[in-house]
């Protein structure tokens, strides 16, 4: 049974003295024993900072300036260093987002899972080990009796996340803080982890604080939702109420962005000419064998046809080869077999052998806008280069075209002289798109362009892409792991797994089934924005459980 949590007037400041910037503004909330509270917000909303403050901890450079945090009647913030050390890992446990970074690679898992019990001197090593094994069983880990003998790199990301939960639970804490524990996982893995987390939290009647940016995930886990924005509480209420009848405007925007609308673009499919054709494409790493195949294949037998004006989405989990496909089309990865036809003519396998006009017609936009824009150049210089390079523009026409491009991606002209470091993530991604458009391409390859952005910002980028398709008729090859994103902007979906194309589904047939089982599994695995979705999901969807 968990303890109650009460937070009063919590204020967290970054920097010293009065000049410091307030990260969390006088936040007050309470969690009843045995309930799960979700902290929801975008990056920079202060949700992780708040969660860490529950342990009396502020990150380097920040400090808790005012307020009280009571866990089971004890004021955490008034404890001295020794008292807080006794509290952490025992009364309050923390499960971090990236389990892979949180484990010591040189020690076995069981050794690290039992460490909190050892530090706090709670039980004998044998008892701790027995308890850890029981937790492994409870968290539905494969081979629970022996998985603890492995090292962190020998288990998968989803398993590691569950093992981290076991580490948190071994001391029977009164409060568990889960900080985006499933964000880095593939959708099918996420379900298993969510299921395991929810079972252990429910059975123990533990009090938990679940930090996340994903409303649909939170809907499965939490009793109450607290929406944070820029360190201020926007809404706080029961999960069902917040999701179905949000009172705050910002919550409504979050809800809308979580499920991007399908962007209708009239795609003339039948009569449009064939723009890109991929035939029997193969690529990989390592030395070639006698048959000319790579030792480690990444792509095999890929067939793809894209008509002018069309947008095709490529979906798959990590390691499915979807990014490699885009890079092969762009000429960055040399294929080991097959061919790529563009506008009816064969494309050379490497960049050096492609003609300038072919390079112009295919542009690529990357996931991380931070590394896609040169920090040393101004926005104007970044956009000017492709215009000069491909179209030979100079002087006034060049300036006019830069202005047009900024308008096209809905950025203010005042950004011209700024450098990328002075732009937000969404603005950077817009500049990346504008740079691609500057070449007047026929095809833009988008590699997870919204994955690194907040949901609201990402939804705006998707809207922009649909807009560009309507006005310019550019074709898109849209690579993503997110089913909703792909459905929102694409006319057809290509599903990839293990370097092979499994199936291709047209937009009109999305709802009409049955499709390839893996597609069905993927689309079922995307959490739905309503409570009780996880309970209704049949357990047979658990590929890891079956192992």
């Amino acid at each position: 049974m968990g303890a109650s949590v009460a937070v009063q007037g919590l204020r967290i400041v970054a920097g010293e003295g009065d000049a410091g910037q307030v990260i969390v503004h006088d936040l007050s909330f309470a969690v009843k024993p045995g309930e799960v509270l979700a902290l929801i917000g975008e990056s920079g909303s202060g949700k992780t900072t708040t969660a860490l403050a529950l342990m009396g901890y502020a990150r380097e450079g920040c400090r808790i300036a005012a307020g009280t945090v009571e866990i089971g009647g004890v004021d955490v913030l008034s404890l001295d260093g020794e008292g807080q050390r006794r509290l952490r890992g025992r009364t309050v446990a923390y499960v971090a987002q990236s389990a892979a970074q949180s484990f010591d690679p040189s020690r076995t898992l069981i050794d690290q899972v039992t460490e909190p019990a050892r530090i706090h001197g709670l039980m004998s090593p044998a008892a701790a080990k027995a308890k850890a094994l029981a937790l492994f069983h409870e968290l539905a880990l494969p081979d629970p009796d022996h998985i603890g003998e492995r090292y962190p790199h020998q288990v998968s990301g989803g398993q590691l996340q569950r093992i981290m939960a076991a580490m948190a639970l071994i001391t029977d804490p009164d409060l568990i803080i889960l900080d985006e524990p499933t964000t880095a996982l593939d959708v099918t893995t996420q379900i298993e982890v969510l299921r395991a987390f929810r079972r252990v939290v429910r059975e123990r009647r533990a009090t938990a604080v679940y930090v996340s940016h994903d409303l649909a995930v939170v809907a499965q886990m939490a009793d109450h939702i607290l929406v944070l924005r820029e360190g201020r509480m926007r809404e706080w209420g029961g999960t069902n109420r917040v999701i179905t009848a949000p009172e705050d405007d910002y919550t409504r925007r979050l809800l809308a962005a979580a499920r991007p609308e399908v962007q209708e673009v009239a795609a003339a499919r039948g009569e449009a000419e064939l723009l890109l054709e991929v035939r029997d494409l193969a690529a990989g790493y390592g030395p070639l064998d006698a048959a000319g195949r790579h030792q480690v294949p990444i792509l095999q037998d890929i067939e793809l046809r894209l008509h002018r004006g069309q947008a095709i989405g490529v979906i798959g989990e990590s390691g499915s080869g979807k990014t490699t496909l885009a890079r092969a089309i762009a000429g960055l990865v040399k294929p080991s077999g097959g061919s790529i036809l563009f506008n009816g003519s064969y494309l050379a396998p490497t960049l050096a052998k492609r003609r300038k006009d072919e390079l112009r017609r295919i542009q690529i936009v990357f996931q991380m806008a931070d590394t896609a824009l040169n920090p040393a150049h101004t926005i104007e210089a970044i956009l000017a280069r492709p215009l000069q390079f491909f179209h030979g523009l100079r002087g006034a026409p060049l300036q006019a075209r830069i202005g047009e491009l900024l308008d096209l991606v809905k950025l203010p002209q005042s950004l011209r002289q700024r450098r990328p470091s002075g732009l937000s993530g969404g603005q950077k991604q817009r500049v990346s798109l504008a740079r691609a458009l500057a070449a007047k391409p026929d095809l833009i390859l988008c590699d997870e362009v919204t994955s690194a952005l907040d949901t609201v910002v990402g939804a705006a980028i998707l809207e922009l892409i649909a807009d560009l398709r309507r006005t310019l008729g550019v074709s898109f090859l849209f690579i993503s792991h997110d089913m909703h994103t792909v459905r929102a902007v694409c006319d057809e979906i290509v599903v990839m797994q293990g370097g092979r194309k499994l199936t291709q589904i047209a937009r009109a047939d999305y709802a009409r089934g049955p499709h390839h089982p893996y597609y069905e599994l993927l689309s079922r695995s995307v959490p739905e924005l309503r409570t009780g979705w996880l309970d209704e999901l049949p357990a047979t969807d658990a590929p890891e459980l079956a192992v």
């Binding site: 910037q21 450079g61 762009a330 300038k356 991380m368 040169n374």
Partner: protein, 294 residues
């Protein structure tokens, strides 16, 4: 400040914004040591450029003063082994020490950085070939190499510049290549490549601006090494030839005054020390503020 490797990205926006806000304030707060370093460098630079015109005395004038005279009103730093004014000798030597070292450093860094960028952008065989041949050059002891070159081609100012440039280019290459390879893996360089940009453009416009900061720090450090190498060679008598003298040859000329505790021997040595220490202090201050601003 905020650790960049922090596993939770959620609150990054604020600390980063704070760092940006308070940056101008930090810039102003340059350390006293840094200011002192810059002042000394400025002084020596002024001496190198304007010194000879401002001297009242002809440095070649042996006059009637005693040999190895102590400091005094007529000769601020005493006189040398021929009775020449030591202050004038040092000021005149500044242009050799500072000038030759500066040109040699610029040559070394320019060659090193250019080759490094080429290696990073082209990669493969070109990279391997250049890296291994420059490694070979590093394995030859620098003083030995310098003596060998002077023995073969004779001492002259262009020769000294060439020697120092060859000796210190591999170091600049190593550092620049390590930085450039990291930048070369960035997506914006990939974008430039998919655009079909040439090697020269990628080197100069995409990579160079992003390694310029650290390479400027390296330039300063390399300058110090070159000053010491040239001073050492002059002391050995294979550097600047009489009647001209840089600080190293001034020490050598006046070595006879060692037993008499003449200022003629300590003054040029102090000049060398002050310049190298000042450059180091300035680099630390500039490099520090640069690192923080990133």
């Amino acid at each position: 400040m905020n650790k960049p490797s922090s596993p939770v990205p959620a609150v990054h926006a604020q600390p980063v914004a704070t760092a940006a806000d308070s940056r101008p304030e930090r810039r102003r707060r340059m350390s006293a040591a840094g200011v002192a370093g810059l002042a000394i460098i400025a002084l020596w630079m002024a001496a190198a450029v304007f010194g000879p015109w401002m001297l009242a005395k002809d440095s070649g004038d042996m006059g009637d003063a005693a040999v190895f005279a102590p400091m005094g009103g007529a000769h601020w730093l005493g006189t040398d082994y021929l009775g020449r004014d030591m202050f004038s000798r040092i000021v005149e030597g500044t242009r050799y020490t500072v000038g030759v070292a500066l040109v040699a450093t610029l040559c070394a860094s320019f060659a090193g950085i250019t080759l490094a960028l080429l290696a990073a952008v082209r990669g493969g065989m070109i990279d391997a070939l250049m890296s291994r041949s420059l490694d070979t050059l590093v394995s030859i002891p620098s003083k030995m190499f310098a003596l060998l070159m002077v023995a073969a081609f004779g001492p002259s100012v262009p020769m000294l510049v060439l020697i120092a440039a060859i000796v210190y280019a591999p170091g600049a290459y190593r550092i620049a290549r390590a930085l450039a390879v990291n930048i070369g893996a960035m997506d914006y360089v990939t974008v430039a490549r998919t655009r079909g940009e040439g090697t020269w453009y990628v080197m100069r416009r995409e990579i160079l601006p992003n390694i310029a900061g650290p390479m400027l720090s390296d330039l300063g450090l390399r300058f110090v090494y070159v000053v010491l190498l040239l001073a050492g060679m002059s002391f050995l008598g294979v550097g600047i030839q009489p009647p001209d003298a840089d600080w190293g040859s001034l020490v050598r000329e006046n070595i006879g005054g060692l037993s008499e505790a003449a200022p003629a021997i300590i003054a040029p040595a102090l000049a060398i020390a002050s310049l190298t220490i000042a450059v180091n202090l300035a680099i630390d201050a500039l490099g520090g503020s640069h690192r923080r601003s990133e």
